[in-house]
């Protein structure tokens, strides 16, 4: 199978076969990462720009390592202070980078849809590293990869995503990914943080965490942004944690071999009790190293696939 997408903007746009192809490619990339010399010449001579409008240490570092392992020329551009302050538009900034020879632009932006604007107006391949509340495809792909590695098969698994679904790009991308690969997806959180009509994508909505955890194979915890309290979506961290925090006791309702995931960084004592956070440590680190392999696969496929030709 040839990867025909020029961009990776979201999991909504990808078919289940394309998702599987990325995951399979990531397996070979993981093998590269385990070698002594962790470098392949796949993207030699290709300039990749990491255009991060939002601070993000981990995603950016992970992309950068992935790019370097593929031998790409890497340019990090963090326009927080320079151009944005001077009033340059997103499009002008990106056009400048393209003029400097960038053929792949990895973009992180606080506003949903920003990567779409670039995909429409530029000729580079665009890789979405997270846009607003919309999608975070590399995170979801690495979550899928990690789950597949542990459980072998995603189809038939039950996953619950817990927390602020409304403002979560990680949730949206994972919902698409897990549904497309045949898992059963539930979401649970305060009704103020469950997006309208989400059940129309074949997701089961719960407001009670105990019911939602019943018999699941995977629990995915989302980070709670404390500013949501100020906008009146929940009354206090204390109450949130009481009704939606994951404790060992609650986790007992899930399957015995349940995996707990968290895109990080964790608010200890809020969405997770400390003991649960410590228990799940191994999976989190596993996710980090898988993240590099998955991002290598994404970059390799868009840069060398049929689409970018």
């Amino acid at each position: 199978m040839v990867f025909e997408q020029k961009h990776i903007l979201g999991l909504e746009e990808l078919s289940s076969d394309e998702i599987r192809l990325i995951l399979d490619t990531a397996e070979s990339m993981k093998e590269v990462s385990e070698r002594d010399v962790k470098k392949v010449p796949a993207l030699k001579g290709v300039t990749v720009v990491n255009l991060f409008f939002e601070p993000s240490t981990r995603t950016r570092a992970s992309f950068e390592i992935a790019e370097k392992r593929l031998s790409a020329d890497v340019l990090n551009f963090t326009p927080t202070e320079s151009s944005v302050v001077k009033g340059e538009t997103l499009l002008d900034t990106a056009r400048n980078l393209e003029a400097m020879g960038a053929s792949v632009i990895v973009i992180r932006h606080s506003m949903s849809g920003a990567p779409w604007l670039l995909a429409r107006e530029l000729s580079s391949s665009i890789v979405n590293a997270g846009d607003g509340f919309h999608e975070h495809p590399s995170q979801a792909l690495l979550d899928l990869f990690t789950v597949r590695e542990i459980k072998k098969e995603i189809s038939g698994l039950k996953i619950v995503i817990v927390g602020d679904i409304l403002h979560s790009r990680v949730a949206r991308s994972n919902i698409w990914g897990f549904i497309k690969l045949g898992a059963e997806v539930r979401v649970v959180g305060p009704p103020t943080m469950i997006p309208r009509d989400i059940e129309k994508v074949d997701v089961k909505v719960h407001y009670n965490i105990e019911n939602a955890l019943e018999g699941v194979d995977i629990v995915m915890m989302l980070r709670l942004q404390k500013e949501r309290q100020e906008s009146g979506l929940f009354p206090s961290l204390r109450e949130y944690s009481r009704f939606y925090g994951l404790t060992r006791e609650r986790l007992g309702l899930a399957k015995a071999d349940v995996i707990v995931m968290h895109p990080g960084p964790i608010n200890r004592g809020v969405e997770l009790s400390s003991e649960v956070a410590d228990d799940m440590h191994s999976v989190i680190l596993n996710q980090v190293s898988n993240g590099i392999a998955v991002r290598m696969a994404m970059l390799y496929l868009v840069a060398s696939g049929g689409g970018s030709g």
Binding site: E12, T89, L90, L91, H109, M111, S112, G113, A114, W116, L117, R120, E121, D131, G132, F133, H134, E135, R169, R172, P195, R196, D197, I198, K200, V201
Partner: protein, 428 residues
């Protein structure tokens, strides 16, 4: 100067005329319907337009446009807005007060009317602000604006949130027989929403504006309309619930009228799916059910008029992140062909459609003899071919605003002539 429009299908809902008739215009007025035109055709001072197979109707009246001048001339000027209106078959436009400075006093009104007289090609009727600076607090000098030529008051785009202020505005407007146009939106509920709140906003991760945001204020203003007895006009109705509220209010005898825009009766919020900022408009394009309800409201008469909410913006302003793009669609030059789809879909007859573009808006706001082809009325006339296919090309717009979601659409309906006060201001 005389113009003879020959053999056209004359449709004038104000007189229930729908038949092949000649129309003679002279001295800027409707002269009559001569059946014998031989002498006129021999007279070299008479311009003869062959309208056979075409529709001849009163010029359209758009109760809702943003001409942007003064203050935002890079988006539109009174001149370019009027040219766009003429190209769309509109002979009169009613312009909203959210300019800079705001049209909240007689001197701004006079400036707009002066510009319109010297540079405009269609009739311009300004709407005055309800409150000073559209700040929603102190009443603007409504009486003086009326004297200067304002035909209604509205805080369009920045609705009055304080119900007491709105009550007083509606009471006060009564003394000057001005209707109050409500842009119905609860700003606290809309918050920083950028599109319809629903499945599509969930998928796109964009903040939603719920239907309730409109309906709460429609309900409030209808209630205040009952309290004060003032004519209330609900602008750009976008939700099924708002249609229902207006329907119920009309049944109770409340003096309320309603308006629908072409984008709200043509599109549903799936149009936003690729983050196309030309679909970003306030109130937002709603669900299919809402769109159907608006069509139903047009059909059963709950929604009295069609207006464009013409809101031009520059390409640069729109070519940004969806959250940052300004709200608005440039609507004057696509209104008729979009409206004709209502006829094609058997929602309205052609006569009913023309009524909602001519006589009904004239009745709501311009208490003069416009929107009719009665002899003696101003010679504001449009001639169009309802069957001619046109392809929407934003690069050919007269408006500075190329922000249309209909670019490239193939539609039926071409404006052939627009005549204002007996002068041809547009011909295809």
């Amino acid at each position: 100067m005389k113009i003879l429009i020959k053999d056209g299908q004359l449709i004038d809902p104000s007189q229930e005329i729908n038949e092949v008739r000649n129309l003679l215009l002279s001295d800027g007025k409707i002269n009559g319907y001569p059946s014998d035109t031989k002498e006129l055709e021999m007279d070299s001072s008479v311009q003869v337009i062959d309208a056979s197979g075409k529709v001849v109707s009163p010029g359209f009246i758009d109760l809702h446009v943003h001409l942007r001048e003064p203050g935002f001339e890079h988006k539109e000027t009174i001149r370019t807005g009027c040219l766009a209106a003429a190209a769309g078959g509109f002979t009169s436009v009613v312009c909203m007060p959210n300019t800079n400075p705001v049209n909240d006093n007689a001197s701004v009104t006079e400036y707009i009317l002066l510009k319109a007289r010297t540079e405009g090609v269609v009739n311009v009727f300004p709407v005055g602000a309800i409150t000073k600076g559209q700040k929603g607090q102190a009443l603007a000098e409504i009486g003086e604006m009326r004297e200067a030529g304002c035909v209604a008051i509205s805080d369009d785009g920045r609705p009055v949130m304080n119900s007491r202020v709105m009550r007083h505005a509606m009471e006060y407007a009564k003394a000057f027989e001005l209707p109050v146009i409500s842009h119905a939106e609860d700003l606290n509920l809309s918050s920083d929403g950028v599109m319809n709140d629903g499945f599509t906003s969930t998928i796109l991760g964009l903040r939603g504006i719920p239907n309730a945001s409109e309906e709460i204020i429609v309900a409030r203003d209808i209630t205040l309309g009952e309290l004060t007895g003032t004519h209330l006009h609900i602008a750009h109705v976008s939700t099924a619930g708002a249609v229902r509220l207006i329907r119920d209010a009309k049944k109770r005898g409340v003096k309320v009228t309603g308006e629908a825009t072409p984008h709200h009766f043509t599109l549903n919020d799936k149009a936003v799916l690729n983050y196309d900022t030309s679909t970003k408009v306030n109130p937002p394009i709603r669900s299919r059910e809402d769109m159907e309800a608006i069509r139903e409201g047009l059909k059963d008469g709950v929604l009295d008029i069609i207006a464009t909410d013409h809101a031009p913006h520059t390409e640069d302003e729109k070519k940004v992140e969806f959250d940052l793009a300004p709200f608005g669609i440039s609507g004057l030059e696509t209104a008729l062909p979009l409206a004709l789809r209502l006829v094609e879909d058997r929602i309205l007859t052609l006569t009913e459609l023309i009524r909602k573009l001519t006589f009904n808006p004239a009745q709501i706001i311009i208490r003069s003899n416009r929107g009719t082809l009665k002899p003696g009325a101003p010679a504001d006339v449009v001639i169009f071919d309802p069957n001619k296919t046109v392809k929407v090309d934003r690069d050919k717009f007269f408006s500075k605003g190329r922000n249309t979601p209909f670019h490239g659409w193939r539609l039926s309906g071409q404006i052939l002539y627009t005549i204002v006060g007996g002068e041809i201001v547009f011909s295809a």
